[in-house]
């Protein structure tokens, strides 16, 4: 078993619009990315479990081959900068991804 930070060089979140969050996982090694992709080890269920939210809230998850990366999309709870928001840039919503473990 390996945790995601052991095999990823970048794990980040950011607004992709004032209403959407986007998370990127960029792998270090092409081989690891290929295996994760082949075995579909990171999928909406895995991400939803890490965030403890219903899987329906994971709106997008795709593998981006040129950057050996995974992109995840979900809606913000509060639109960016509106009253009650906690993270205007959406740049600190990635931490639950760090807890994902991979069977590799």
């Amino acid at each position: 078993m390996k945790t995601l930070p052991e095999v990823a060089q970048v794990i980040r979140s950011k607004n992709s619009s004032p209403f959407k969050l986007t998370m990127d996982i960029i792998f270090r090694e092409r081989e690891v990315f290929d295996e994760v992709r082949r075995r579909n080890l990171i999928n909406p269920e895995v991400v939803a479990r890490a965030y403890n939210i219903p899987v329906e809230r994971i709106e997008k998850l795709l593998y981006f081959e040129p950057a050996k990366a995974i992109k995840i999309g979900m809606s913000r709870v509060v639109r960016s900068g509106a009253p009650g928001d906690t993270d205007v840039y959406g740049a600190q919503q990635h931490a639950p991804l760090l807890t994902i473990e991979l069977d590799i």
């Binding site: 992709s16 004032p18 981006f64 992109k71 809606s75 639109r79 900068g81």
Partner: protein
């Protein structure tokens, strides 16, 4: 020799700065254009709503001084996109004033084209009534009243509105809200370069050296557009563009790295290749532009939702910390009850750092026992006076609240500042983020040409 078009991108956001050496290395490459993206919606809805820049005036003036003096002296055109951070009229005027100051101080003369991105609110209301507003990101269609609560509505322009300025011989183009790549792509497209490649290169150059490794938002990058590819080159020896850094940047802030929508169509990156040329340069090819059946522009507007006051405090008491969520709710309930007697309405939010201040309801770590926590009290009401009053009431109620099990009876909160409450002015939220189909890509955008003489 095959033709090529070189673009110097000094910095990721005008005002973020750049090393003089990098900029001068870029000038030594004899670029055909110096272009900079000056805006973003990242810093939130306030700046568009309030008509203010999120960038610092001194920083913007410093960056522009290099660009204008070197650009005019070397006959290199300059394009500034999304002036003033949000690109509405007050933002453009703010940037124009800075440019005119520099021109006077440096004795520069040039022709400047100014393109405004402001959209008439009643035209938006009419578009809503006619069902012509297309929502993005599952957002509801705003009501006419909500649109009228937006002090400014802007549209993201494509390259087309800049063409008249280029034809008029403008050496400097100052544009309001632009689709980010436009300040880089408009001139080469006018010269006949491929729209897809020019736009894709602009998409990377708008972040300057962020797409290099190590990345930096305050260092320069050079883009070389060719007939069927483009090349990216860093301008300081410690950075390089690699296939990985450039491909990874394609993900940045985008919801889908393969399809990047913009005015008039999308970039399709499905068949893009990134090839390292061996000297810190990367060549990109294969980008396609897929036009939409009807040309659409994205509208942006922030509406005022009230006034905000906040207060910041900490607590080091383990008994209070153990029941902080419950106590916060009790304080909120008591404030609500007290307000029932007055004709005053407001909303109270508690940001509890040390528990879930950063992620709110998305926080997954529930059982924590920090030795200290920070509480940011946020109050929203219809006037600043009301927000101040409710914040004051919330703060004093919290300070002396007799929660269950309390043994520290002199005060529950540690305030770092006196005064403790901070009136924050008008609060905004994004309400327009919708597409509007147009017959003419330039019709919404008014412009003027001015002669700067010194």
């Amino acid at each position: 020799m095959a033709k090529e078009y070189k673009i110097l991108s000094p910095t990721a956001i005008l005002g973020y700065g750049f090393p003089e050496e990098s900029f001068m290395r870029g000038i030594a490459e004899h670029p055909d254009l110096i272009a900079v993206d000056a805006g973003s919606t990242d810093p939130g809805p306030y700046y568009l709503g309030a008509g203010k820049s999120f960038t610092d005036r001194t920083g913007v003036k410093g960056d522009l001084r290099y660009m204008l003096t070197q650009g005019i002296k070397n006959h290199i055109p300059i394009v500034i996109g999304t002036a003033g951070g949000s690109g509405a009229r007050p933002h453009v005027e703010w940037c124009r004033k800075i440019i005119e100051e520099i021109a006077a101080e440096e004795k520069l003369s040039f022709r400047m084209g100014i393109v405004y991105a402001d959209v008439d609110k009643e035209a938006v209301v009419q578009a809503i009534e006619e069902g012509q507003l297309i929502p993005l990101d599952d957002q509801p269609i705003p009501t006419a009243e909500q649109v009228r609560e937006c002090p400014y509505v802007v549209a993201q322009m494509g390259p087309e509105p800049l063409h008249a300025m280029i034809e008029a011989g403008c050496e400097v183009i100052l544009a309001g809200r632009c689709y980010d790549p436009v300040c880089f792509a408009a001139r080469p497209i006018e010269e006949g370069y491929d729209r897809a490649l020019a736009t894709h290169m602009g998409k990377i150059l708008e972040c300057a050296a962020i797409a290099a490794t190590p990345g930096s938002g305050s260092d320069c990058a050079l883009g070389i557009l060719k007939e069927d590819s483009f090349i990216l080159q860093a301008l300081s020896p410690e950075r390089q563009f690699t296939a990985q850094s450039t491909a990874a940047h394609t993900l940045y802030e985008k919801s889908d790295p393969y399809h990047l929508p913009g005015p008039g169509g999308s970039l399709d990156l499905t068949n893009v290749s990134f090839t390292e040329l061996g000297d810190g340069r990367v060549e990109v090819r294969g980008t396609q532009f897929v036009p939409t059946p009807k040309y659409a522009v994205k509208l942006e507007g922030s509406r005022c939702v009230g006034y905000r006051t906040c207060s910041i405090a900490g607590t080091r008491d383990p008994i209070l910390i153990a029941s902080i969520e419950k106590v916060a709710q009790q304080v909120k309930d008591r404030v609500t009850n007290l307000l029932l007697h007055d004709d005053m309405k407001g909303e109270v939010f508690f940001h509890i750092y040390g528990k879930n201040g950063v992620m709110g309801t998305l926080e997954t770590v529930k059982d924590v026992n920090p030795h200290e926590i920070c509480i940011v009290m946020e109050v929203l009401s219809d006037t600043q006076e009301h927000a101040n009053t409710i914040c004051s009431l919330t703060r004093s109620t919290f300070l002396h609240y007799g929660y269950e099990g309390r043994i520290s009876t002199a005060g529950n909160l540690a305030f770092p500042f006196s005064p403790s409450d901070i009136p924050m002015g008008a609060a905004y939220e994004f309400c327009l983020y919708h597409l509007l189909e147009v017959d003419d890509p330039s019709a919404l955008f008014s412009s003027e040409v001015v002669e700067i003489k010194n």
